[in-house]
């Protein structure tokens, strides 16, 4: 009987631990950090800075996207057959899709993912659209690779992103191509 009570108590404790609402799970966060690292998220979402040793990630701005302190002029895309341009920070990209800026993935509530739910994040990656339903995610974001991740892996990534320092940084909206071919109106039909 005593053994049964101990077993039930242990099970209850484990269940309570796993299901505790709002409490970050260190193992899940560690898994998320691992996935973010091997998934190369910092490559585009953490801006580069110049150092005496060369360029390096600016970890004060880790995963906070294109710096709002760095307005970008139109990219010089007139050197055919070269058709892509990257900003020095590796957070601004221009090509046939227009100009895209890597987003702020930190938990800042106004400019990052602070107001997002786990469900919003998973829908975004699964559907390749902002919040799962809005504008398309733009190159070079390889969402179509990440969409194959399991729900558990995507949850872990989101948990990690919620655990990192919030950085207030309002990333500019993407810009359409200079001569957008898809802006024809019904009158032209």
């Amino acid at each position: 009987m005593k053994r049964l009570v101990v077993a039930v108590s242990t099970l209850a404790a484990l269940t309570a631990s796993a299901a505790a609402p709002g409490k970050p799970d260190p193992k899940q966060i560690a898994r998320g950090k691992y996935l973010v690292t091997i998934g190369g998220c910092n490559d585009c979402h953490t801006p580069w800075k110049k150092t005496p040793e060369g360029v390096a990630w600016d970890m004060d701005r880790m995963l906070s996207g294109h710096p709002d302190t760095l307005p970008m002029p139109a990219a010089p895309l007139n050197a055919e057959p070269w058709g892509l341009a990257f900003g020095n920070t590796m957070t601004a990209f221009s090509g046939p899709w227009g100009t895209s800026f890597s987003r702020n993935l930190t938990p800042d509530p106004e400019t990052g993912l602070g107001a997002w739910t786990e469900r919003d994040f998973i829908a975004t990656i699964r559907n390749g659209r902002h919040l799962g339903r809005g504008r398309p995610l733009l190159p070079p974001m390889p969402w179509f690779n990440y969409r194959e991740a399991t729900d558990d892996d995507l949850r872990a990534i989101f948990a990690y992103l919620r655990s990192i320092p919030a950085v207030k940084n309002r990333v500019p909206d993407p810009r359409p191509p200079a001569a957008a071919p898809a802006t024809a109106s019904a009158e032209t039909r």
Binding site: W97, S185, R189
Partner: protein, 345 residues
Amino acid sequence: MLALLVLVGARPAPGKPQREAPPRLADTGLYVDPGARTLTPGIRTWTPQYPLWTDGATKRRWILLPPGRSVDASDPDAWIFPVGTRLWKEFSFDGRRVETRYMERGADGSWLYATYRWTADGSEAVLAPATGVPAAVRLAGGSAHDLPSTGDCEACHAAGRTPVLGFSALQLSPDRDPLAPHREEPSADAVDLVSAVRTAMVRRLPRALLEKPPRIEASSDLARAALGYLHGNCSSCHDLRGELASVGLDLVQRVVPREGTGPGSTAVAVPSRWQPAGAPEPLLRITPRQPERSALLHRLSSRAPADQMPPIGTHLVDDSAVQLVRSWIATLESSTRVSAPLVER
């Protein structure tokens, strides 16, 4: 990781498979005689009063409920469809059938989404890939029509309280809006709210909505039409009770009033998070009397992929809608009550 070769328009396989759809439209139960295109007995057609803009496509719609089953309208703004419900929507351009979309509610309550692409000779329609088909049909003027992926289907249909769009109390109301853009005249055999209740397709609808059918109560006929257009084209996502509630934009016209909802509370004079590049000053979602300073109108008028609204299902600006919404915004006073909530009577 940089995927430099990936351009907009590439649509890889979806990550989460759904139930398997029948391989041909003829297998979905639409026709009792596919060769003669004779509809299965019991199938009903309907015409929503505020149709979705799909670049000028002509549409036909059908619904089939399982025998003896009804739609539960006890929440007049979120009807519940019985297991086994099937719906179809056929899209034609220039008189040629292009695709027929299909929805079916399964035994587990989940919805299956599929689209069937008509062959060039129009003899049959076969299941399109779940990834969709970009530019499946070239349209006059150089644009193209995409067949949606299942993810695209879910983006709109799984965003709100009910996955069935366009078959609702307001859309079926016999008090139809004469100024609705692209309004279609219902055929003589089309079901409306009154006949749906009379034939027991729909049950538990509050009686008041039959005695006085739903109607958008707005400050003018122009406002009624504009609000109806936004309801028909935008409210599947922009719904404070839906998946995108966190965006805080509500373009739903409800037949049961809810305080603090609707365009008047969530769009008019509300700051916009979206801003066009180079704007001299921040836009509001809707700036009374100033259409050019209204983010909603900018996005409705754009077909740049990152800016356009709706973001799915259209490559051509709906000029008549833009004109309507622009005119409506120009008439708004900052103190204008945009829309009286529809009252259950």
